[in-house]
């Protein structure tokens, strides 16, 4: 038994693995995660359909709420935390996020500029005929 505990101190945590081992604490973690996620989801759906807030702020609020909820899922469901045994998992996640932001941000940026620089098609055809 003490050998088992020893092993856990020695090695890194696998993704999805938790540090504490009592069943009650683990269930509590999932309950807290579910509560936070439901709260954020309800806020998202409420904000999307309401007239109570300044309309131009809605897209930004939705994106912020979505990122917050992804964070809640990562911490409470996938157990990716900043703990010392989680370094490898967090570094892999950071690299994945870098690629995601490059792909999405780069695409939106470039395509928005392409649309701006391209005249409408009929005008384009008139220019070259």
């Amino acid at each position: 038994m003490s050998d088992q505990t020893h092993m856990h101190v020695e090695h890194d945590l696998a993704p999805g693995e938790e540090e504490q081992h009592s069943v009650g604490e683990r269930i509590l973690g999932y309950v807290v995660g579910l509560g936070l996620a439901l709260l954020l989801t309800a806020t998202s759906f409420f904000i999307a359909g309401t007239n109570l807030v300044w309309q131009p702020s809605i897209p930004v609020a939705l994106i912020v709420l979505a990122i917050a909820q992804m964070g809640v899922h990562l911490v409470f469901f996938l157990h990716i935390t900043t703990g010392p045994d989680n370094t490898n998992n967090v570094l892999a996640l950071a690299f994945g996020l870098l690629i995601v932001f490059l792909v999405v941000g780069g695409t939106v940026w470039i395509m928005a500029h392409l649309n701006q620089n391209m005249p409408p098609m009929d005008q384009f055809i008139r220019m070259h005929s």
């Binding site: 269930i27 579910l34 490898n88």
Partner: protein, 213 residues
């Protein structure tokens, strides 16, 4: 005595920097498997980010067809979201039950997860069938192509997840909580939670942002 020494050492050097040379052997199989699967999940998320980027670029290109706000039904999306959230929770309960080797709670948690996943798939299938029947299939406009490929790709992942879930139940039934079965269960839980994270992006970007515009 040696235990206290280890704990004290771990506190002095939480990242095990000074101990790399002392333990040159490979990590246990459980950690290697789960880490490899985590890297696969991240590559899957990168693939989804391409679909998200395509949707963001094409969401305005309706070619005279319907806009997002005309075809999305918030109530269905809310039900789908709650189904996936609850299924993520019950999947967590099932993995705790697998760790403590409790068959009853494992089967119950997995069965509820399966039912919630199937409800999600049924609602999504009905939405797709309804859109196609109204003539708003994926070939109608660039916006609908991007919509069907992003949401459909997530739906395919959920379908694969449900099949995997049933396989895990069968394996536990036939082989019990063996070490290899528990490793697969761990990967399945990671997969299911990752799908829920992607769905958060889908309902926020596609349905709420696209529906409001």
């Amino acid at each position: 005595m040696s235990m206290t020494a280890t704990v004290a050492h771990a506190h002095a050097d939480p990242h095990h920097i000074g101990r790399a040379a002392e333990h040159p052997g490979p990590a246990p199989k459980r950690i290697v498997t789960a880490y490899g699967f985590w890297v696969f999940l991240l590559s899957d998320i990168v693939m989804f980010s391409c679909f998200f980027a395509a949707y963001a670029v094409l969401s305005g290109q309706t070619a005279g067809g319907p806009k997002g706000s005309e075809i999305f039904e918030q109530r269905n999306v809310a039900i789908e979201t709650i189904c996936l959230l609850l299924s993520s929770f019950t999947c967590g309960m099932a993995s705790i039950a697998a760790d403590v080797r409790n068959r009853f709670w494992f089967y119950l948690g997995m069965a509820v997860t399966c039912v919630l996943g199937l409800i999600f798939l049924a609602i999504e299938f009905r939405e797709f069938a309804d859109l196609v029947a109204r003539g708003y299939g994926p070939s109608r406009s660039a916006f609908l192509t991007a919509f069907f490929s992003l949401v459909g790709c997530h739906g395919l992942h959920v379908s694969a997840g449900v099949l995997w879930l049933l396989t895990m139940m069968a394996q536990v039934f036939a082989k019990g909580f063996r070490a290899d079965v528990l490793r697969r269960m761990m990967c399945f839980a990671l997969f299911w939670h990752a799908l829920d994270i992607i769905w958060v992006g889908v309902f926020s970007v596609v349905y709420l942002l696209g529906g409001g515009a």
